[in-house]
Amino acid sequence: MMLSSRQKLLLFSNNPPDEITFDIIVANGVEPAAIRAAKLPLSMLKEMGMEHVMLSRQLGFDAMDLADGPFAADALAAFGRDAVVDAFLGEAGDAVCLAGSAAATILKISVEELLQRCVAAPEEAAAVLQQQIPRALALTGVGALTLLDTGLRATALIRLGIDRVIVEKLTGASGTRLELLGF
């Protein structure tokens, strides 16, 4: 992989090596910000020896990076959707970062998948729903059990503009589950 002098200097401010591989980047603790400034997408890191997308997490890339459309599209092209989602969508904070982003479209990440990462995290779950447009249809495809598991309850849902009728229609929640949700 041939890098320009500018790219090399952005990665290694002093004495950049002649040949740069993924292992050299890891060994030198190069920051993700420097890698992105050098315009090295994940597909190029793959060509340089990064065998799995999970290794990019070890470098310090996170869901905030993935929320960027071009970054997500490149990751999909290099590794496929499932590997990228497994690597970057781990916890509730990741779900908040990715909700409503270009990455959610590119990687086909559903609201159900995002809410599954928000177990017992009602504030994060609310933030995920808040970023869906239109809000009234945010729960399309979401299971009643997933919604219950997030800890979100009627008061917070109503504050988001999602009432009992919407919850019942979109999640198929039964009377008992609606009661558990506080409706």
Binding site: G69, A73, L76, A78, F79, R81, A102, T105, L137
Partner: protein, 283 residues
């Protein structure tokens, strides 16, 4: 009075049937690719100012740019577009197209399917006539309400100046007379997208009527191609059979014009259709 013998009648019917089969082979699907506004700041002040102007002068939902994706019967997809400061051209041969469509603007496209008999070949033919048409920012004026009355007075010959929506509308009007109600100069990217979205039920009807029963193996191959286009990596996309890719795009087009789908379902399907078209073309 004209009379036909039985053999002449049969021959005429066979010719028509043969003609329709050939029409199906030439492709009937064209998509209007719509680029939604970027959420990141523009790179230059001029670009930022232009974007603000385009957003301010158009009805919601705002579309920044439109172009045509022509799905040929052989699975080849042609992209015809007119960009600021460039001439109208087919985009698949441009060196920077892959980076532009599948990286820089990824996730911001929606595809509105339009399907009519022989539409793809007609649009391809009309697009060829428009190659080299100069871009005109000034033509946006006639797409804004007080000046729309002047739109019909503007030249609409093939090759005359226009912006992305003017030229796309001109091609569609000539390829399928009666498809659009206004003169080509009347349209902005948003109004063209809005009008074509209103025609989705007709497209759905056409696709349902002309969809042939496929063998189980073919359907499986189309599903595999669809998975590759939507969630696979580039190697999966390249490996997929071109005919199966075309079939999977037609299946997605059916979902992208489903009259029973709600607003979210339609938006998701149209985004997936755009992603698939662009990956199929530029991977």
């Amino acid at each position: 009075m004209l009379t036909l013998s039985e053999s002449q009648l049969r021959s005429a019917v066979e010719q028509v049937a043969g003609g329709e089969a050939a029409a199906d082979d030439s492709g009937s699907l064209v998509c209007l690719l719509c680029l939604e506004p970027s959420t990141t700041p523009a790179e230059t002040t001029l670009e930022g100012a232009l974007n603000c102007l385009i957003e301010a002068c158009q009805p919601s939902p705002v579309v920044m740019h439109v172009e045509l994706a022509i799905v040929g019967g052989d699975g080849k997809i042609s992209h015809f577009a007119t960009y600021l400061a460039q001439r109208a051209e087919f985009r698949e041969e441009q060196a920077d197209s892959k980076s532009f469509y599948t990286r820089q603007t990824a996730g911001r496209w929606r595809a509105i399917p339009i399907a009519r008999s022989r539409l793809a070949s007609m649009v391809q033919k009309e697009s060829t006539k428009e190659v080299g048409a100069p871009y005109s920012l000034a033509r946006y004026i006639t797409s804004v309400p007080p000046f729309r009355a002047l739109a019909a007075a503007l030249p609409s010959r093939p090759g005359s100046a226009g912006h992305c929506a003017t030229i796309a509308a001109r091609i569609l009007k000539r390829a399928f007379p009666g498809l659009l109600t206004n003169s080509s100069g009347w349209y902005s990217p948003s109004t063209l997208a809005i009008e074509l979205n209103q025609l989705l039920p007709r497209t759905h009807h056409f696709l349902s009527e002309t969809r042939s029963m496929k063998a189980t193996g073919e359907e499986e191959e189309a599903n595999e191609a669809l998975q590759a286009l939507l969630i696979g990596n580039d190697a999966d996309v390249v490996r997929a059979n071109p005919v199966a890719k075309r079939q999977s795009i037609e299946n997605l087009a059916m979902r992208a014009c489903d009259p029973d789908a709600d607003e979210v379902g339609l938006a998701v399907a149209q985004r997936q259709l755009a992603n698939s078209l662009l990956r199929a073309s530029f991977t």
